[in-house]
Amino acid sequence: MTRRRLTRVGYNAAAALVLLVTLFPIYWMVATGFKRGVDILSFEPRWLPIPGTLENYRSAIGKPHFLQDARNSLVVVLVTVLVSLALAFLAALAAARFRFRGRAALVVMLIVVQMVPLEALIIPIYLMLDGAGQTDQLAGIVVTYLTFVLPFSIWTLRGFIVNIPEELEEAAMVDGCTRAGAFRRILFPLVAPGLVATAVFSFILVWNDYLIAFVLLRSPEKQTLGIWLASFTTNHGTEWGGVMAGSTLFAIPAVIFFLLVQRRVVSGLTAGAVKG
């Protein structure tokens, strides 16, 4: 009895430690964002943001180009996600539902392509876009994002479609539906949540990018929010309040979208792979 009690206490202590390690950094960011300058620059940490202030948020939002960069981010993310979703849905349909010559090669290609790090491809992509006068243009960066968002979307959507039993469409076709009609009336409604999930994953992938925006976008009015955020973390030792407020603002859209689909991330990334 006492031994079991002891194990229970041990487990709960370990759990408390995990909670502390995962949540404290996030708490500290949010708390610092609401603290006054004197409380941030204090050798003895002030654990609570009391008395609080909105000064840091005001200064983060008041940084030059914040609104412009937020709009750029939004445009770039939306265009990338919509284009890739449309292309990927058709391709995933073919890969999941049709038998055709070259299907195996296609699957191999989709897997291998995802191993090629963008960190390597950025050199030729930069030179190509530079030659075409498309660096420092939002169109150029959308195209670059597609290089990793599109294969990822095809692969994820394919996983979602494979998991919908083909018999449902067959039944509809026996009942006189055409193949296209079966896709539209049976498959499409069933795969809609998968489409939403894929769109959200893609959103997060693009939102998280730093490297591509950093290489391709030079002028401050064309940059995205990630660059905006990283640009004031470089002023070392200064303005931690502003940095933390900016980081919080930057995290909010990603966190909201992530929470919407988190349950599907596990199944999307692994089940798609294992079940095939």
């Binding site: 390690v21 050798f43 790090p117 050199i123 955020l229 692994t270």
Partner: protein
Amino acid sequence: MARPATDLAGRATARRRRRLAPLVPYALLAPALLVLAAILGFPLYRLVSLSFQEYGLKELFAGHGTWIGLENYREIFGDSFFWTVVARTVVFAAVCVALTMGLGTLVALLLRNLGRTMRVLVTAGLVAAWAMPTLTAIAIWQWLFDFEFGVVNWLLTKLGVAGYEQHNWFDQPLQGFAVIVVVVVWAALPFVAITLHAGLTQVPAELEEAARVDGAGPWQVFRHITFPVLKPVFLILATLSTIWDFKVFTQIWVLLNQRPSREYFLLGIWSYSESFGVTRYGKGSAIAVVMVLLLLALTFFYVRQMLKAVGP
């Protein structure tokens, strides 16, 4: 008279449809494949061809490089710095993957042994950390490890560890890399822990119970009963982590204020800095090609596994 006519017409469309049917998948694939060929296939080809060229500022203005064969490769393979960077990249990735997988497994096992409330709380904490964008995570840890007002230095000093007052973690590469590892593992751990915990539900409880009754210790139960069931998921997670940790760029770049010294170079950073820092795109491409090949070799197993799962 009217009926046979429509019948004939119907049969004709049906025949046409049958003839066109094999083309449908290709038509569906065509738009995506064309785009991929242009934005992925062509750059890949360009990357390889650039790696055989001298491509600097002069060539950038001219718009084409000078073919120099294997010269770039000869240069990097002959440079002892290359081998340092390769070794550093491999060790860095290995440490990150080992810590992520090891701690992730422990947290997954812990989750299974917790009461309902605690389990929900810990899962919520993991999901919160997982949801943080990379750039946010970097900023948070940069602040926690700040030399003057960072909580980490304060805590270490409080605990009586000497020498951490006003201590700059990035003065020494080894300590700097420790911070980078913390940032990477903190962000990667939740995905691994939650996925493994989901995988643990597949482990039959009766089997573990039976082993325990037969006198197996906790380690033996894990080693012989639990782990074999988890293995496929574990391997996929380990490979995904390898892919992600092998090409770490942003964490180092931003933590070191976009000016990492050569002691902090991993393959990705080196390739970047040769290309965009000193405008030697040819040499940078050669390094990138080496990085891609190493990564493909390391993840060969994963690719094979996926292909087996997908089937013929």
